[in-house]
Symmetry: C2
Subunit: 386 residues, 2 copies
DNA sequence: TGCGTTTCCGAAAACGTTTTCGATAGACTT
DNA sequence: AAGTCTATCGAAAACGTTTTCGGAAACGCA
């Protein structure tokens, strides 16, 4: 009743189980299995993008010829090339970057891992990265770690899975183990650290004047007459916190001012913290006459609290901070800061990375320091010293 | 003297031109061309990532079997699967997303085009997008148009070339022609507009309470006793500028306050502009007693200038603005704003887009409005009205 | 006119997956 | 014991490029 596909006879055809829901048949004579494949209804395929093969067919040439024409390579008749280019633009051909990347083994994409895109510092870094990357023909893929070590690890894995050509990373404050980075570095992935770097790993790094900036700010306070300078430092785990704290200590040492552990507070970027620290300081027998905040946001919080307490700034307590957001110049009193150049950090890091990608074999790790600038404003400038 | 590769004899071998720098030979008997390929020195290949084929070889099975094991699909012996998974983790196998994407025709990546990543509003939107996208297993690729129409077009093309599965876009202020979007939409690319949308295109959109927010702010000013309310509007080209301006007009109309064109200024996001506008207003015979700035930054600039001129806020002139950045609460007087929720905007837009991607066929465009909130602060609250 | 050359182009492999199709072994059924 | 079935696996095509290799035609030269 059912004919064999091959011999056309139904003599030797027997059933032979089911396969994917369909009855399967077997012709003993021909020793062949087959199914009665019903004419599948025309599934209207989604609109495909034009491919090289489409162009080749349209012109009756081989795909390789089209590829040659498009890549401006040699070994092609100028006339043929022009013709191909004409048809290509006519059909609005766009090369499939996925296919290209798969073949070439490079994606022309760099991955970026930052703790938080909403922090103006990192947003500006991103802008700098984007500028350089775009200029060099690279795309950028961004991930946020949200200050979590595990998320950071996942981010790195995701970017590696996307086969980025290189990685820019500023670590989360939780990150104390760096195996996820070392692993990729060992596999040959170019990596550049910025801002929150790690010196245990042999990567290029872009840092800021964390030590020098602290030193300059604290020295400035001292020159303004401050002798008991409190510091709102960053999380203990972060290297830059330590570096900035060291700048503070060095400035005190230079002027022979004793270090008082009671005046050192480690903030954790949590809301309300700095105010608590401030209150503790104000209850000391010897109150501070100057405050150095490692992060401008903390400085701002403290200024607001000081104003609420009707403590004169800078006469009773002078305040300085790191990082110059717009806000530093707008609050009253305006805030003396060590101005950072995050856009520069981004540019520098991206430049280093792309260099590393291009000269993978010969590249030697470099550490670059982006200059900052001391901007003196009302919060620390005592009229008495004028 | 040179032996034919095929017959081994040198009888019929003749030279036959050069090819890629090498002498080419021809055996007349065998009718075959060949070159004397010198033993190329072992180019040490770069470290490759482990592939499915590597796993297959290690276990003596077919690549397809490995694929089945990894994808948790059917048609595989549980023991075989476990064995394959064991070896896969042992070899630290990571699927090549490029190859997967190429095959599947989808990248699990969404593209985002924004005018400027450094604007806190857009940074927050991005954070919202990232959260939703990551949660749904999508990666995010970000481009900045820098408020340029041509850059925006290039951005879109680049993202399409990267074969993103969908597009989130907030237009540059230069953009008045939308062909680049319509083209992609016609090709079937899911697109969602947010913030700076365009109603000429049949896309889903996420907007804010531009009209209602303006209305609320201006009504608030009126209720505080203002009768001549100046407005610092946005660029004429932007739809949201018009919408916000309409909210302003509607509020005036409701209370029978005549519209005065002299009190309408169109800002262009350029530094110093708002101050000039303010000066012009102050030279009018009938000075304004209230100012509504469509963008909080303009409001801040004006407050600073008003303070410099020693004009009382809010007694002489009350000020309100759109968008609640941290700064609005920190300057003095603190600024009354219509608080936006950019993170929400990002979340909503990404949710819509991913829905659109997944249900490509049945999806119907939607317009969603993200609620805002009027926050009354010192810059507009007149004690007399208490 | 036969050897040597250059120019242009096509076939096919390769990148790393997934998916389709079908083969085979063994078990179950009558 | 033949017919039927299921479970499991391999081969090969496909995704869209680029690149390598080699063939063929056309041309120059002795």
């Amino acid at each position: 009743m059912v004919l064999c596909e091959k011999c056309g006879s139904d003599k030797n055809v027997i059933k032979s189980g089911f396969i994917r829901g369909q009855q399967r048949l077997y012709c003993k004579a021909c020793e062949v299995h087959f199914t009665m494949n019903l004419p599948q209804k025309g599934v209207n395929k989604p609109i495909r993008q034009v491919t090289i093969v489409d162009i080749a067919k349209a012109l009756g040439v081989a795909p390789s010829t089209v590829s040659r024409a498009l890549n401006g390579s040699s070994d092609i008749n100028p006339q043929t090339r022009l013709e191909i280019l004409r048809v290509a633009t006519e059909m609005d051909y766009r090369p499939n970057l996925l296919a290209q990347s798969l073949h070439r083994g490079e994606t022309h994409t760099i991955g970026v891992v930052i703790p938080d895109i909403e922090r103006p510092f990192f947003a500006a870094v991103l802008a700098g990265i984007q500028k350089v990357a775009t200029g060099a023909g690279y795309r950028v893929m961004i991930c946020q770690s949200n200050e979590s070590h595990s998320t950071e690890t996942l981010n790195v894995q995701a970017l590696v899975a996307s086969r980025v050509d290189g990685l820019l990373i500023s670590h989360s404050k939780e990150t104390t183990s760096f195996e996820h980075i070392k692993l990729q570095l060992k596999k040959g992935l170019p990596i550049v650290h910025f801002d929150r770097v790690c010196y245990d790993i042999e990567t290029s790094k872009v840092v800021q004047e964390d030590f020098d900036g602290s030193f300059a700010l604290v020295e400035h306070l001292i020159l303004q007459g401050c002798r008991r300078i409190a510091v709102c430092a960053g999380p203990r785990e972060l290297l830059i916190s330590t570096t900035r704290l060291n700048g503070y200590k060095a400035a005190l040492a230079k002027y022979g001012i004793p270090l008082d552990e009671e005046l050192i507070y480690h903030s954790n970027f949590k809301k309300g913290e700095p105010v608590l620290a401030l209150k503790a300081w104000l209850e000391l027998d010897q109150k501070p006459d100057g405050i150095f905040a490692v992060h401008y946001a903390n400085a701002v919080d403290m200024i607001m609290e000081l104003k609420r307490l009707r403590i004169q700034i800078p006469e009773q307590i002078a305040v300085v901070g790191f990082g110059d957001e717009l806000i530093a110049s707008l609050i009253e009193p305006s805030l003396t800061v060590f101005h950072l150049f995050p856009f520069n950090v981004g540019e520098t890091a991206a430049t280093l990375l792309i260099d590393n990608i291009i000269h993978k074999d010969t590249f030697e790790p470099v550490v670059k320091k982006v200059k900052g600038e001391l901007i003196i404003r009302e919060s620390s400038l005592r009229t008495t010293s004028l």
